[in-house]
Amino acid sequence: MSVTEYDVIIIGAGVAGLTAGALLASRGFQVALVTAGEPTACLSTGCIDVCSGNHNPLAGIKELPDAHPFHLVPEKTITESLDNFLKAMQEMGIPYTGTLAENRLVLSALGTFKTSCLVPSTMKAAPQDTRDSIHIISFAGLKDFYPGYIISRRPNTEFSVYDAGVASTMGIAAHFEEEDCLERFISWLKGQNVSADRIAFPAVLGLESADKIVKMLALRIGKPVFEIPTIPPSMPGRRLFNALKDYFRKKGGTIYWGWPVSGVEKSGKIIEGVTTASKGRPNSLNGKSFILATGSFVGGGLVAGRETITENIFHLPVHVPGARETWFENDYFSFSHGIGRAGIIVDSSLRPDGSPLENIFVCGGILADTEILKNGCGHGLAIATGQRAAESCMECLR
């Protein structure tokens, strides 16, 4: 068994883990990030929701229920972390738009508005009301996008269908990365004689170069162009993940990809290392401090059994919102299903409550009482608590 030594070991490659990792690595710490695979961020819209219930997200945070983990992060850390995020994404070539003072609207694939704080530049030109007319470009065979849904919500909406020769989200995105394909598309689009105010696309406009492609299309057609987030697989989610991952590596972090944690080595109240089930042989990664950012149920950080809910790496105490029958309400659209409150309760340094372990910090979706859908706080909370967990680690290492 090989053993490697680090200052900090982070488990989970989602927005929280990568945010924490980048900060620690940029401050000169030796950081390893281990992950079982791709994070749920790849399934997301790429939008950074901070607090969608209030016109002003920063003010909205203050109104969240007392138990919400956002209250554990000082306001200064929240603003700093989101500033860091904006700079990092700018540096990685996927700029974001928005401020903590005001939420923006993103047109959804159903024609409704999704409220978010920081949005990818490719969604910047989305209309902020129902007045502007829109021309939607759909793609032949693309099974996860139907303009009819949007047309039902918006007057003055029309659409045309382009045959890219491929039908999957990923395939079309790759198609747009090819210069001659893009040119062929532009000449087709010019032939459509679009009269609407704006041109909308499902989010398939390239993988690495989406920002450039959107700007180029807008310039060549002479109209604002924007993307509409799609159901998974989601290009904006994947772009976000790739950028965060590359940024972390650029700062000097190491990623152990496809290495699910299979064991923990402890000495009393101190975690000394984690064992990972990698191909060939088990590997031990030793660290002085640990960050758990494995996400909620979808990410696999929390596991629901028939009786209870567990965290299966460090076996931290999990806050379980009552017996199984209380996890869900009868109304699907209640936004208040008990399960949304499940997770790890932490103190102000994000150390787990009720656990004797001293050198572990928890951040992101695995935290208790987040109620992410109700509060509209997904990636925003991950960024803020990721930064907070990194700061706690630094204090711990000092």
Binding site: L43, F113, P232, F297, V298, G300, V303, A304, W327, F335
Partner: protein, 500 residues
């Protein structure tokens, strides 16, 4: 106003079977169903084509009927029946005396049995509990109740009889004390229809008393709720029964890509108000887990209940009430047919139509047992290879349904309901329970201008609420993960609703 000789109310197996029998005997009829075919008890059963073994001890007449019908349906409904065979397994502690009684009763009824060792049984079904004492082989099969109804009704449709689904009967029209017709409302448009006939057949199963009361009649019945769970894959290729007196959680049936396990039996008052308790789900899983241990940690994708319309009896435990059926002549032009089982639906229809023929003074013998169901030649049947033949434009990845198939159903039925597509193609019946493909199916209906964009949004909302009723009692483990993802898609990515 529409005129027919016979009106059938109810589009479950019994109603569809009666329609086919009438069609083959040349009697013009009209069938009215308030939802879709097989939407009630028929579609909520475990899809077992009984060998009769389960009833041999307590109800030998019903057992014999089951066995005979089993043999008939294997011949006439070849694309609905999978000839799985069945095992009755005896676990340590299960009564040996019951085993003797079971074998003797099956012998008396005429159901072929073969006692096999546990080793042989494990060869047949490797997932079986290795501790079983022995197993008894019986000719159980699995049957697709949705397809069965669709194919039965096909004969009526081909002969230009009128079939109204999504029509709710609101009134039984009477004249001089006789039932002469019904008024029904189209559930999607609100349009009212009046249909007249000489005879009205009430084949509404658990709802029979409600319909009878519209004509001032009564149908004495006991309603027993039975709950079932569905796994995400097949844990057995044979039907597995527990060799003991009928009890909760004593059967596992493989069906298409999944397994169904059940059932429970609880008396209920109103067939429209049935829920499932977490405890029922736990009971089924732990009992099924005794026969197939892997059941305890397999993924459950859905839990649901159906209501058995049983003949009224003094017996308190509904497991013991006869599964036989009865035709009630209300002496006013209306008949109710209640009780029975999915397995004996054809026989029930035959007896019902015999009665109708007698009242019309017509003589034409029943042919339903001899003629195969119409429309089977165009069906693929189960083999996956046939479904994979056209992998283009897959809409439902779990059940491999492609766009062409969805479009075909929409064109063929003119449906405006996504549930109708599900019942005909299995779209949305897999692990994600329609989480991904319903968005697509409604999008396709939208593209084809079958529904307006506004309607498709409302239908999406309605679908998600109904879907949730089926899965909320099976939410833990991977199914809970899937559900959280689906919730994130509709409420997070698509912003279908906003928090209140």
């Amino acid at each position: 106003m529409i005129k027919a000789d016979v009106i059938i109310i109810g589009g479950g197996a019994t109603g569809c079977g009666i329609a086919r029998d009438l069609a083959l005997r040349g009697i013009p009829h009209c069938l009215i169903e308030k939802g879709d075919f097989a939407a009630g008890t028929t579609g909520a059963c475990h899809g077992l084509l009984h060998s009769g073994g389960r009833y041999a001890v307590n109800d030998p007449i019903a057992a014999r009927e089951c066995y005979d019908e089993n043999q008939i349906l294997r011949r006439i409904a070849i694309k609905c029946v999978e000839q799985t065979g069945g095992l009755f397994v005896r676990l340590p502690g299960d009564s040996k005396r019951f085993r003797e009684l079971f074998l003797r009763s099956c012998g008396e009824v005429g159901i072929p049995t073969e006692v096999i060792s546990s080793t042989k049984a494990l060869d047949l079904v490797p997932n079986l509990n290795p501790e079983i004492e022995e197993a008894i082989k019986v000719p159980d099969c699995s049957i697709d109740p949705f397809r069965l109804c669709m194919l039965n009704i096909r004969t009526s449709q081909l002969r230009n009889n009128l079939i109204f689904t999504r029509h709710k009967v609101t009134e039984i029209i009477k004249s001089h004390g006789r039932c002469i017709g019904v008024k029904a409302t189209d559930q999607s448009t609100g349009e009212a229809r009046e249909i007249h006939a000489n005879i009205i057949v009430n084949a509404t199963g658990a709802w029979a008393n409600m319909i009878a009361s519209l004509a001032g009649c009564e149908v004495p019945m006991t309603l027993a709720k039975g709950s079932l769970v569905i796994t995400n894959h097949r844990l057995t290729n044979m039907v597995i029964n527990r060799l003991r007196p009928p009890s909760d959680g004593d059967i596992i049936v493989p069906n298409e890509a999944v397994c169904l396990a059940g059932t429970t039996s609880l008396a209920v008052e109103n067939p429209d108000k049935i829920g499932i308790e977490a405890a029922e789900v736990d009971t089924i899983i732990s009992e099924a887990g005794r026969m197939i241990p892997h059941f305890n940690n397999t993924r459950i994708i859905r839990a649901f209940s159906g209501v058995r319309p049983l003949l009224k009896s003094q017996k308190m435990d509904s497991h013991e009430i006869s599964r036989g059926f009865r035709i009630i002549d209300h002496q006013n032009g209306m008949y109710s047919i209640v009780g029975g089982k999915l397995t004996t639906f054809r026989l029930m229809a035959e007896k019902m139509v015999d009665t109708i023929m007698a009242s019309f003074n017509l003589k034409r013998a029943c042919e339903t047992a001899a003629i195969p169901l119409d429309g089977q030649e165009e069906l693929s049947g189960y083999p996956l290879s046939k479904r994979l033949a056209d992998m283009k434009d897959i809409v439902c990845e779990c059940e491999l349904v492609n766009r062409k198939e969805v479009e075909r159903i929409i064109n063929q039925t003119g449906t405006r309901n996504v549930g109708d597509i599900t019942h005909r193609t299995r779209l949305g019946m897999g692990p994600c329970q329609g989480g991904f493909c319903t968005f697509r199916a409604l999008g396709i209906m939208n593209d084809m201008s079958v529904v307006s964009p506004e309607q498709s949004m409302a239908m999406l909302r309605d679908f998600l609420q109904r879907r949730f009723r089926g899965i909320r009692y099976a939410l833990w483990g991977d199914q809970l993960r899937e559900e959280q993802l689906v919730e994130y898609i509709y409420l997070g990515i698509l912003a279908l609703e906003k928090p209140k």
